[in-house]
């Protein structure tokens, strides 16, 4: 059974069509990514999937429950980290966790045990009784994640969960989400951090302007766009990327830190040209590598092609 079935979702705000007939399904236990540029309709889609917004038309079924008819029961089985999903600053971390556990109907003893355990897992055991208003942004976000997971839901929605976080908090949160997915929970992640999606998700759905562009595994998407390969090279001194721009075998050349990245459909020919230029200019190569297309390349290409 699919954990989520989304069929022909449409949502309009005034004159703006935010979502224009999106359909996809997410399998049970899957780690599914929803990718798109800002304003693509990711958050609106996730809000309709989690019952925050009612679609104008179309349907959402969650764990076999129609969100129009059985949204309360469906919501009991979900954990959601909304885009704007803070916790209560007047309450302590522990009180926030216990409050959410109450909403999910956990009995008292279980509430207390889960809150204690979650605080430990999130590295907040010592600060658990401090009011959240005294926490750093990373600590608040950790509590926010804890609130969504306190009832160990079979389905988890994460809307940009690591946006603007420090490295330590980001790692901790992603580890916790991965662990939950490993234990059988279905996870839906919206992000514009393509590397994160590529590392975590079994399938990604790329949406733009309220429409699905493609749904596939990150690896297969890369393979589809094999022609978007690149050669990355660094020389012993600075070389302007424009010297490659006139080459017919080069699609695009750009600086990437102290390296040059040259996009091509024929890496062999580009390497030959690099060697020729090296001889011509008396350069030394520090490093050189051929790279397949990243998910970012796929994303950019798709969103460029279909706009």
């Amino acid at each position: 059974m699919a954990a989520i079935e989304v069929r022909d979702l449409v949502k309009t705000f005034g004159e703006t069509k935010a979502v224009r007939g999106i359909s996809f399904s997410v399998e049970e236990g899957e780690f599914f990514g929803l990718l798109g540029p800002n304003g693509a309709g990711k958050t609106t889609t996730i809000r309709m999937m989690t019952g925050v917004l009612r679609p104008d038309s179309g349907s959402v079924s969650v764990l076999g429950m129609d969100m129009r008819k059985r949204s309360l029961e469906a919501k009991e089985k979900m954990g959601v980290i909304p885009e704007v999903g803070n916790v209560y600053p007047d309450l302590s971390g522990r009180e926030n966790l216990e409050l959410m556990a109450r909403y999910y109907g956990l009995p008292r003893k279980l509430r207390e045990d889960r809150a204690e355990r979650t605080l430990k897992e999130l590295g907040l055991a010592e600060r658990g009784d401090d009011p959240v208003k005294k926490y750093s942004k990373g600590m608040r976000q950790r509590i926010s994640i804890g609130c969504a997971m306190i009832h160990e839901p079979p389905l988890l929605f994460l809307d940009e969960p690591t946006e603007g976080l420090d490295v330590q908090s980001r790692r901790m949160i992603l580890e916790k989400v991965k662990q939950l997915n490993k234990n059988g929970s279905t996870v839906v992640l919206t992000t514009h951090n393509i590397e994160e999606a590529s590392r975590l998700c079994q399938r990604v759905c790329i949406i733009n302007k309220g429409q699905v562009l493609v749904i596939d595994s990150p690896e297969r998407l890369r393979a589809t766009f094999e022609k978007v390969q690149s050669v990355e090279v660094s020389f012993d001194r600075k070389v302007d990327c424009s010297i490659f721009s006139s080459e017919s075998c080069v699609a695009k050349a750009e600086e990437a830190g102290d390296k040059l990245r040259i996009y091509t459909s024929d890496p062999d020919l580009v390497i030959e040209r690099i060697m020729a230029i090296k001889e011509e200019k008396g350069l030394r190569i520090i490093s050189m590598a051929t790279l397949g297309p990243t998910l970012e390349d796929v994303f950019v290409k798709l969103t460029e092609e279909k706009t």
Binding site: R47, T50, G51, V52, L53, S71, L72, E73, K75, E76, M78, V80, P82, E83, V84, G85, N86, V87, Y88, P89, D90, L91, E95, L99, M100, R102, Y103, Y104, G105, S144, C147, F157
Partner: protein
């Protein structure tokens, strides 16, 4: 309809509101300090029959306290960024509205009970046996009704609590002047009385007048019925408005 989830949602929401919002400054200012000042402004230094005006004052303090929590909750939640999380929990808008109303009613009930006990202890009040049983009914109905009014006032809100607190003051002040608090209903000329019929506070003042042996205009049962109708109307309207404005300010 899943009554277990609905009941749990209402009670947990009310508990959350009690824990967080009872201690907020605007609740104290608009719920306690303001009616106290009004009382002093009206009664002190004037040769008034306090027992005659006490039902009106009690109704006014109940009205202010019960309707002081509701206007704060939704804009405060939106401002803090907690409202969207609430919407993702196993609750819906009517559950949130009912929970917020219950929290407001609880605050009003506590404070107005203290005022009543104070009045009963120190003022020459009489409670006719025939109507005394109506007192808890009117108290509970009045508190729920005005708490629901408070929630209704905040239902179209964005994320600035101060805007709604001002709007709430703009609505509440005129109501106390057209509800028979400062001029008893029975003393109003018939041509001026019709306007008081539009205020829910009128029916609480009238009911409390009956319970405390003062002159009432309507039967107590009618007062209770009209208060119930206003309550239902406020709850439905608040849910409908909030449903449409839920994402405003997010």
């Amino acid at each position: 309809m899943n009554y277990r989830i609905i009941t749990k949602g209402v009670l947990v929401t009310a508990r959350k509101d009690v824990r967080i919002y009872y201690r907020k400054a605007p609740v104290f200012i608009f719920g306690l300090i303001l009616p106290t000042f009004l009382f002093f402004a009206f009664f002190v230094g004037r040769d008034l029959d306090v027992a005659k005006y006490f039902p009106g004052f009690l109704a006014m303090s109940l009205f202010f306290t019960a309707s002081s929590v509701g206007p704060l909750i939704i804009p405060w939640e939106k401002q803090q960024g907690t409202f969207e999380r609430l919407l993702t929990l196993p609750v819906n808008i009517p559950i949130l509205v009912t929970g917020d109303t219950l929290a407001g009613a609880g605050f009003g009930l506590i404070i107005s009970t203290i005022v009543l006990l104070f009045g009963a202890a120190f003022l020459p009040l009489t409670f006719p046996l025939a109507t005394i049983l109506a007192l808890p009914v009117l108290f509970i109905l009045g508190n729920i009704c005005f708490a629901a009014l408070g929630v209704l006032l905040s239902s179209p809100a964005g994320r600035v609590p101060a805007n709604i607190m001002m709007l709430a003051a703009l609505v509440r002040f005129p109501l106390i002047f057209i509800s028979g608090i400062f001029i008893p209903l029975s003393e109003l000329p018939p041509e001026a009385r019709w306007i008081t019929y539009f205020s829910p506070l009128t029916y609480l003042v009238d009911g409390l007048n009956a319970v405390m042996g003062q002159v009432n205009v309507f039967p107590i049962a009618l007062d209770a019925l009209v208060l119930s109708a206003f309550t239902a109307g406020f709850l439905v309207l608040a849910s409908w408005t909030l449903q449409r404005k839920a994402l405003k300010g997010l």
